[in-house]
């Protein structure tokens, strides 16, 4: 793994200091982006990212790399639209390639209820800064000729919302680019360093215990994925998070172009084409809360059947690889960011099955919180305290699978 990274970006590994101004637990996209924006936007560089395996080993290396802002509630549209824009400018800013490609996203409706949902999505998107239009079957077919508009005779495609900002990128390159950008500015990244406990001074978190010794910190941030409740419990913090596996698979190379990202909410499946031409397919989480990375036969059986209903060309492709990530699912399918009520301890979690698209904005906003100690307006709706205040950001229909 490291040889491949070294060909793409320049990373230098250092020994951990005894203390840092900021420690970020979790070397995935969110943790690394937070470090990057701390360094580049706020000049805060006495920072360490602590990763128990290798950077991007968790969900950042296991997702289907979809970038979009076509959510159903204003708070989410504003938030994810910011990320779409940050992703679009990332290659220019860092002078590194992340294989970013804007290709448009079709979210299809197979019923009257689906039509209503997609029409509403288009209006909410437009009102809050994202570009999405509702389109009819003839236009859908023009955008994606491979679609079986009859939906196998059972799930006819009756309409769709089309989101031009829908994009894909290479998930590992995003991780490596943020890591390098942070490192170049003096941030330390410590791989194979596992946090075993949090150091508390009275009520305040003042550092971490790791397998390589104690490290003290002014602020500790958890940017951990599926294993977040374990970290939070070290601070005596309970979270509304349940961890579920999410599987995905990729096919061999498809000779033609699958132009847009194709999503069908009713069938809970979506497909996109990678830079290598393979078709990358995902669906819903497993029903059991689990930390196991085992993939299963049922997922393949169910997901392929649904995907082939709308994209019959898949019949002629082979499955190359299947894998799993473990998702931190929140009650309202929205992220949880900001202060935790525990002094000196911030969190960015609840990224469930929707985290990859938010890596830039998540990092940018957490960095602003750390630098100013004030929760930025864009992420106030996603505070941990919202559940107690009965202000949940319910948007499951938009977050559903990715």
């Amino acid at each position: 793994m490291n040889k491949n990274i070294e060909r793409t970006v320049h990373l230098e590994w250092k020994e951990p200091n005894a203390s840092y101004d900021v420690i970020i637990i979790g070397g995935g996209g969110h943790g690394l982006a937070t470090a990057y924006y701390l360094a580049t936007r706020h000049g805060i560089t006495n920072v360490a990212v602590i990763e128990r395996k290798y950077i991007g080993a968790g969900n950042s290396g296991r997702n289907t790399a979809i970038i979009r802002a076509n959510y159903g509630i204003p708070e989410a549209v504003r938030f994810y639209q910011r990320s779409v824009e940050l992703y679009a400018g990332l290659e220019n800013e860092t002078n590194r390639k992340i294989t970013h490609k804007q290709k448009g996203l079709l979210t299809m409706a197979h019923s009257e209820a689906g039509i209503r949902t997609e029409r509403a999505r288009a209006e909410v998107n437009k009102a809050f800064g994202a570009e999405t239009v509702y389109i009819e079957p003839d236009e859908i077919k023009k955008i994606c000729p491979q679609l079986d508009m009859s939906g196998g005779g059972i799930w006819p495609i009756m309409g769709a919302s089309y989101h031009p900002g829908g994009s894909t990128a290479h998930h590992d390159r995003v991780v490596w680019t943020y890591a390098e950008g942070a490192m170049l500015r003096g941030v330390h990244i410590h791989q194979r360093t596992a946090v075993r406990g949090l150091i508390m001074n009275g009520d305040r978190v003042t550092g971490v215990e790791t397998n390589r010794g104690s490290i003290s910190a002014g602020i500790v941030v958890s940017a951990v994925g599926g294993h977040v409740t374990t970290i939070a419990s070290m601070a005596g913090l309970r979270l509304p998070i349940r961890t579920h596996p999410l599987q995905a698979f990729v096919t061999n190379r498809y000779a033609l172009q699958l132009k847009p990202i194709v999503m069908t909410a009713d069938l809970l499946t979506y497909a996109s084409q990678t830079a290598k031409g393979e078709i990358l397919i995902g669906a819903e989480i497993d029903r059991q809360p689990s930390y196991s990375y085992n993939s299963g036969h049922h997922f393949i059986q169910s997901c392929t059947h649904r995907a082939m209903t709308v994209l019959p060309f898949l019949r002629n492709l082979r499955i190359l690889r299947q894998w799993t990530g473990v998702c931190d699912m929140s009650p309202d399918y929205s992220p949880i960011m900001g202060k935790t009520g525990v002094s000196g301890f911030y969190i960015t979690t609840g990224w469930g099955t929707w985290g990859f698209k938010a890596i830039p904005v998540g990092g940018e906003q957490m960095a602003a919180l750390i630098a100013t100690e004030k929760t930025p307006e864009l992420i106030v709706p996603f505070s941990l305290s919202r559940f107690a205040k009965d202000r949940t950001m319910a948007d499951r229909g938009s977050a559903g699978t990715h």
Binding site: L239, R242, R287, Q288, S290, S295, H297
Partner: protein, 84 residues
């Protein structure tokens, strides 16, 4: 390779035939009734390790059963007991 649950009535069946039922453990340290309700409504233990949980055999005998599963590897640790 999929997870199989050995239903005491129906035998070994795929997990897709069952519906998950979490057992909520509100910490004893939370004493105020409203706070206990809030914890029960939103919070999860979500442990990495053995957890006691319930599954409903929706596509089979339609009975609730209790078991202990290790969430790190999905191994079922103890005999599965059907509700009386």
């Amino acid at each position: 390779m999929s997870i199989q649950i050995t239903c005491p009535n129906c035998g070994q069946r795929p997990i897709e035939e069952f519906i998950y039922g979490e057992i909520f453990n509100v910490p004893d340290t939370i004493t105020e009734l409203d706070e206990r309700d809030f914890d029960r409504a939103f919070m999860h233990d979500n442990p990495e390790g053995p957890v006691t949980e319930r599954w409903f055999h929706s596509h089979g005998c339609r009975r609730w059963m209790t078991m202990c599963r290790d969430t790190r590897n999905d191994q079922i640790l103890e005999k599965i007991i059907i509700d009386k």
